[in-house]
């Protein structure tokens, strides 16, 4: 029996993490942490997860040398970890397959999820379809508008998309509604949280399910070009794709850069650069960095990319920032859009707007580095879902310039 004072606190990364949730959820979190620990020690579970990653997600994902983009930047060699080639189009499937298997282990029949860009929602709906689970996905109506294609995909997959009309009608509000659902349903329902955020055990569990990215990338880099990269760059909203590629190489001599959404400027409300511009606080069950006003109220956020449009960040990233192990920076909407066009036209890859933030930062760094240095970009998702949104933005831009 744990008490307030005589036990080490579970799920902390330095001073960050924890379980700041209503008592109603504590039993479900406890059950989840126990089941996750048991599963990770179970060779059969790991073998089944490997099979799912291979046969359903299509892993391993390719490691790709971006020759023409490298030439265009005129500096360091740019490599892309092709998570965009996974089934469903992003890294999110790595995690949802793992959590769906855990759901079965716990004997639960229903899953719920929050989604911003819709990638996590689609990946959850896919896993639910594969394993025959009931699936409800909470999504802000602003995001439903921006990511209509993904709404249709979720519905085709048999999931119910529940529109969230509260707050800014984006990812934070969808997360609130998913948590409220779980408060009432946790005995029969598993909440498949989509990032390395939230209360323990989610930050650890989601990182572990995403570590297949970094383990593969490490092996692939050592095979060809034959050494680890000098720098790894990944975008950070909640931070799951970044944690997945960073964690397996965290003890290697590799610089790491997390790229947040700089939005349209540094004023509170114009961006989602939580680690760069936020402060320590508590949101959605964890102590980490948050974007808040002086009274502790969550601030409005903005990003061109629905998946980065979130006022919090995973607690392990906060710890990596504190320790200096990872450098965090931000890229604006307009720079991300520029990188989207550059990658599309030099390599034939339309990146997700989220991943384009990492591409933009890599392009900026590459130009200042020498040709024998290597930057590895985690290309976390593909941009099919963003095409309509990008077209509208480009059209508006042309109109205002013309």
């Amino acid at each position: 029996m744990s008490t307030a004072s005589d036990q080490p606190r579970a799920g902390y990364f330095g001073p960050y993490g924890g379980q700041f949730v209503p008592e109603t959820l504590m039993h479900a979190l406890d059950q989840l942490a126990t089941e996750f620990a048991a599963a990770m020690d179970d060779a059969d579970f790991r073998a089944e997860l490997d099979r799912c990653w291979r046969q359903i997600a299509g892993r391993p994902s390719e490691m790709y040398f971006a020759r023409r983009l490298t030439e265009r930047c005129g500096g360091a060699q740019l490599y892309l970890k092709r998570e965009d080639m996974n089934h469903t189009g992003a890294h999110k499937i790595n995690n949802t397959l793992g959590q769906a298997l855990l759901t079965l282990r716990m004997g639960k029949q229903r899953v719920i999820a929050e989604t911003g860009a819709g990638q996590h929602g689609v990946a959850t709906a896919t896993a639910a379809a594969v394993f025959g689970l009931d699936c409800d996905v909470y999504m802000g109506t602003e995001d439903m508008r921006r990511q209509r294609l993904n709404v249709l995909r979720m519905e085709l997959l048999g999931a119910r998309v529940i529109p969230v009309e509260i707050g800014q009608r984006t990812l934070k509000d969808a997360t609130n509604q998913a948590m409220r659902d779980w408060m009432a349903s946790c005995e029969q329902t598993h909440y498949i949280l989509g990032s390395v955020c939230g209360p323990h055990p989610y930050p650890t569990m989601v990182r572990e399910f995403q570590c297949c990215i970094g383990r593969e990338a490490r092996r692939q880099m050592l095979a060809a070009p034959g050494r680890l990269p000098d720098v790894i760059v990944a975008c950070v909203g909640g931070g799951s794709n970044a944690a997945g590629i960073f964690a397996p190489m965290i003890d290697d001599d590799v610089r790491m850069v997390g790229v947040e959404a700089g939005g349209s400027g540094p004023a509170l409300g114009k961006h989602a650069a939580t680690l760069c511009l936020g402060a320590e606080g508590v949101l959605h069950g964890a102590r980490s960095f948050v974007l808040q006003d002086d009274d502790g109220q969550t601030a409005p956020v903005h990003s061109i990319s629905a998946g980065l449009d979130y006022p919090g960040v995973g607690p392990e990233h906060a710890e990596w920032k504190r320790s200096g192990r990872v450098t965090y920076t931000s890229v604006t909407d307009s720079q991300a859009l520029g990188a989207t066009l550059a990658l599309s036209q030099t390599e034939g890859i339309i990146p997700a707007l989220e991943s384009a933030h990492a591409v933009a930062e890599a392009m900026r760094r590459a130009a200042d580095m020498s040709g024998d240095e290597i930057i590895l970009v985690n290309l976390s998702g593909r941009g099919d879902k963003d095409v309509t949104e990008i077209a509208e933005i480009l059209e508006r831009r042309e109109q205002s310039e013309g």
Binding site: Q7, F20, T24, L25, M26, N176, M179, A184, G281, G296
Partner: protein, 288 residues
């Protein structure tokens, strides 16, 4: 400071001596405005309420249903801050406690002296941002007697408990229907003032009737603790208050009251206060 002379502790010990239970109304601080909040408190006290909860509006209240969420959003849109809530409570205390020179603002609120025990229901996000120690000191100085921090579970409360106690505040802990038995007793040992027993798994909101298991569980818990037990979530009518008070020290009613504040928000303040007060009067009946 210690909590031995805390108003909340004194109130429940007095109620137990008299063999009575309490009705604990919940209202959202600053909704629809701060003057109405002070007037509602005074009105409740006049009708015989001994303990009241003030909800501190929060942008992301995951334990709350639509009624309280909307009231929080409206209060925040109107610019309500923690500091303003503390000032309002201080003003309420000054107006209802006789000042040494006799020059109380009493006429302001049109109420007599009262000894209403006040709790703040506040998210840990807000407490943490202000600084735990500073929040406790400021809340105590304003005139609060206790805190309910619904997103600060036992595992995370170790540093907070002594800070609340040093400020003279009761830190009320919550027990949920999903809480296993052993953990209930542990929570009961840590809770100060009373134990908040959540009647149903889910968010706050009006419900017709409580699960039978809740009543049995409260009865069972009271055999294990001397700390008063109050039941909340889903209680919306006098009949349920009566059922709860047969086994518990108090019944907490939130959404049903806030709902009536919302329905009357456009009306003159004294009319709103009277209408909501009448409803609270009905809820009080079973506790008399």
């Amino acid at each position: 400071m210690s909590i031995d002379n805390n108003r909340l502790v004194r109130t429940f010990s007095d109620l137990r001596q008299k063999g009575k239970s309490a009705l604990l109304p919940f209202i959202t601080a600053g909704y629809p405005d701060l003057d109405t909040t002070a007037a509602l408190l005074a009105g409740f006290a006049d009708r015989g309420v001994r303990v009241c909860e003030l909800g501190v509006p929060f942008s992301d209240p995951i334990a709350d249903g639509p009624v309280i969420q909307s009231s929080y959003t409206a209060a925040l849109d109107a610019g309500i801050t923690c500091e303003q809530i503390f000032k309002t409570v201080r003003r309420f205390r000054d107006a209802t406690n006789p000042a040494p020179d006799g020059s109380a603002l009493r006429s302001d609120l049109g109420t007599a002296t009262c000894d209403l025990a006040l709790l703040a229901m506040v998210s840990y996000s807000i407490v943490y941002r202000r600084g735990c120690e500073r929040f406790c000191m400021d809340a105590a100085a304003a005139g609060f007697d206790g805190l309910i921090v619904p997103d600060l579970p036992l595992e995370e409360a170790g540093d907070f408990e002594p800070l609340a106690a040093e400020a003279g505040l009761c830190n009320v802990m919550l027990i949920a229907p999903t809480t296993p038995p052993e953990r209930r007793y542990e929570l009961a040992r840590h809770s100060r003032g009373f134990i908040y027993f959540i009647s149903v798994a889910g968010t706050t909101g009006e419900r017709d009737k409580l699960p039978d298991e809740t009543i049995a569980a409260v009865r069972e818990l009271r055999e294990h603790t001397d700390t008063p037990v109050c039941v909340g979530f889903g209680i919306s009518r006098a009949q349920t208050v009566r059922t709860v008070c047969e086994v518990a020290d108090g019944a907490i009613v939130g959404s049903a009251i806030v709902h009536r504040v919302t329905d009357n928000a456009g009306k003159p303040r004294d009319e709103l206060v009277r209408t909501v007060g009448d409803f609270v009067g009905e809820l009080l009946e079973p506790t008399r």
